[in-house]
């Protein structure tokens, strides 16, 4: 991968580290997506608490919790649901370190950057002044930044718990409970399948190209290459579509979609549903208590 770095000696000043060209960066991106999907399938097959529940219960329950987080009007509720999410992750044998490295850190980096200026510009009660710059940090600013970050972290954890603890085929099947039309569910399922075909095609294309690159790619050249790669992928997907259609037709596809409904609610599932909904309801109620915020914030 690094052979391209050494061959470019045109620039006079010695370069510290060559920037990865867009081919490598795209490859890294594609592989990261494949990896996270594989990781999800891996954890979904473990024998944990959430994995054993009916997918419909998980969708309804986790969605109710996500809704409770977005509705909350004080910290305490958000932290409470985050703790619930952590507990669920531990009981479902989701490795927390991977979750932290993959999700929490990247959300913190993104949302944290966005939230940082807020602590200075929100008008309100001053709590601290930066020594040199004389910028004032306000209590309201801190609160607001905390809301944004904690909400983003909690909701992303909850939504990932669903895919980390459920096989994607089951997620799709369970979507019909939420009245998503069957044709959409089938499209979603096929899309998910073909994403991997496409990711692999793109990966092969870029690897083939990367292995032929000597030296740095000029800007115009790389833009042409990017556009051509997308164009090739587009043509390929068009042919793929025709082939899939013929294959579907040859198996008797007439436009109607049927699917087997093999879920059955056990006692455990009903119990879990009740627990989920009561936690969510408790959080709804806690979230509306403005006085709780005043009481708990020193």
């Amino acid at each position: 991968m690094n052979s391209a770095a050494n061959s470019n000696s045109k620039s006079a000043a010695p370069r510290k580290k060559r920037r990865r060209n867009f081919v490598e960066r795209t490859l890294a991106n594609l592989i990261r997506n494949l990896e996270s999907a594989l990781f999800a399938e891996d954890t979904a097959r473990k024998n944990g608490l959430l994995q054993r529940l009916d997918p419909r219960v998980k969708i309804v329950g986790l969605l109710a919790l996500i809704l409770a987080v977005t509705l909350a009007r004080n910290f305490f509720t958000i932290i409470f649901i985050f703790a619930v999410a952590l507990l669920l992750a531990v009981l479902s044998r989701v490795p927390l370190r991977t979750l932290a490295a993959r999700t929490w850190l990247s959300v913190l980096a993104f949302t944290g950057t966005i939230a940082l200026p807020v602590i200075f510009i929100t008008p309100g009660d001053a709590v601290f002044q930066l020594p040199v710059l004389h910028w004032t940090i306000t209590a309201q600013g801190l609160t607001s930044a905390f809301y944004l970050i904690s909400r983003a972290e909690t909701t992303v954890t909850l939504s990932l718990l669903l895919v980390l603890c459920t096989l994607w085929t089951d997620v799709l099947k369970a979507l019909r409970v939420l009245r998503v039309p069957t044709v959409f569910v089938v499209i979603l399922g096929m899309t998910y399948r073909y994403i991997f075909v496409m990711l692999e095609t793109a990966q092969n294309m870029f690897e083939a190209r990367q292995s032929r690159i000597v030296g740095a790619l000029a800007g115009g050249e790389s833009r042409k290459l990017a556009a051509a790669s997308i164009g090739v992928l587009l043509s390929k997907s068009f042919y793929l579509n025709q082939e899939i259609y013929l294959a579907m037709q040859s198996r008797g596809f007439r436009g109607e979609v049927y699917s087997l409904d093999e879920f059955s609610m056990k006692r455990r599932d009903w119990l879990a549903l009740i627990v989920f909904l009561s936690v969510a309801l408790l959080a709804f109620w806690l979230g509306r208590q403005d006085s709780l915020a005043a009481f708990l914030s020193f």
Partner: protein
């Protein structure tokens, strides 16, 4: 661009879900009627395609890279409604399976990128490309502009959604509960990033892919341009002719610009620092602002910033011209000329970008 959960209030999310629903319903009906049984595989494959190109790093001038949503190219190949559905499905998979973009914010993301993006991209592409030949350079320019306009329209919608949050939703102490920045910060912050980096990525993707398809697979461009001629020669003759009414209209507007002198008062909000000192202008400002008296001294920031940039043609009339009317017309011609020159430059760059398509096209174009 993918709004995560927690940035928008549940009510905003609900409103945007409701706003998206009729578009989805209508798009599904349209596409179903057109494709019948082909709907399922076509949408699936193109949604997968949209998903994958969102992962691509598009190299930008200056050595950086950016991500494109691909709504421009989707709208050109699949048409408005197909693109709406394909991008929505791709966004749903991102939200559900990859934690990219929120689940409660899914309606908002679809509204911005899939719906507004597709509508804007189609409108711009169809207007600019008009009836140009499938392999003409004009289609490349049209596609590039379509992608650029679409992503900026989407970013603008998102920035408004962000900007209204602190106005509407605060906790007991007055701290914003969701996205904390007011419109005055959210709009410039979002737009600067999209007018430059993200917009360019989309521009390069849409324009570049159309240029590539013109020489490798022009049949894919047929769907949104069924009656466009194949050959380039037709374009040389009449490609721009149909824009003639637009040119005439533009000229008429330029000549009519001195009409602005007939209106009373100053444009609201376009006051200069001196206007606050002049008693006559102060009355005008007060009359135009529900009889609110303007502040005694010009705002400090206005005074400071007004010295930063001095326009070459102040108040539309250069000092050496005695006639104000003539000054207005000159300014209009000069300003319009600058804008046209800018777009000609864009066109020239796009032509360079697709130059080698000419060398191949005689054998490829028109066969499919």
């Amino acid at each position: 661009m993918h709004i995560p959960d927690g940035y928008l209030s549940p009510i905003t999310c609900a409103v945007l879900y409701a706003a998206s629903a009729p578009f989805w319903w209508f798009a599904l009906r349209r596409v179903k009627r057109l494709l019948n049984t082909k709907l399922v595989p076509l949408l699936s494959v193109f949604a997968a395609f949209s998903f994958v190109i969102m992962m691509f790093n598009i190299p930008l001038p200056g050595g950086t890279t950016g991500h494109a949503v691909g709504v421009g190219i989707a709208a050109i190949v699949l048409g408005t409604w197909g693109s709406m559905l394909a991008i929505s499905v791709a966004l749903l998979i991102q939200a559900l399976f990859f934690g990219d973009g929120g689940i409660t914010a899914f309606g908002a993301n679809c509204f911005n990128m899939a719906i507004v993006g597709s509508l804007v991209a189609s409108a711009v592409y169809r207007t600019v490309a008009n009836r140009a030949a499938i392999t003409s350079t004009r289609r490349v320019v049209a596609a590039a502009l379509a992608g650029y306009a679409a992503i900026n329209a989407a970013a603008f919608c998102a920035s408004i959604e962000f900007g209204i949050q602190p106005l509407l939703f605060q906790d007991a102490s007055g701290a914003p509960l969701y996205a904390p920045y007011p419109l005055s910060i959210a709009i410039p912050a979002m737009m600067i990033g999209h007018i430059t980096v993200a917009g360019l990525a989309e521009l390069i993707t849409a324009g570049g892919v159309v240029a590539y398809l013109q020489r490798s697979d022009p049949s894919l461009l047929r769907f949104t341009a069924p009656d466009a001629p194949d050959e380039n020669e037709l374009v040389e003759k009449g490609g721009w002719r149909s824009t003639r009414p637009l040119w005439i209209g533009l000229a008429a507007l330029m000549i009519l610009t001195p009409l602005g002198l007939l209106t009373a008062g100053t444009a609201w909000g376009e006051w200069s620092a001196e206007d606050f000192a002049d008693s006559k202008t102060r009355e005008e400002i007060a009359a135009a602002s529900l009889n609110q008296a303007p502040p005694e001294a010009p705002p400090a920031g206005l005074e400071r910033l007004s010295s930063v940039w001095t326009a070459p043609i102040p108040d539309y009339a250069p000092p050496f011209l005695q006639s104000e009317q003539f000054g207005y017309i000159m300014s209009a011609i000069f300003g319009t000329g600058l804008i046209i020159a800018f777009f000609l430059l864009c066109g020239w760059i796009a032509r360079r970008f697709s130059r080698d398509n000419r060398e191949v096209s005689p054998t490829v174009s028109g066969n499919e």
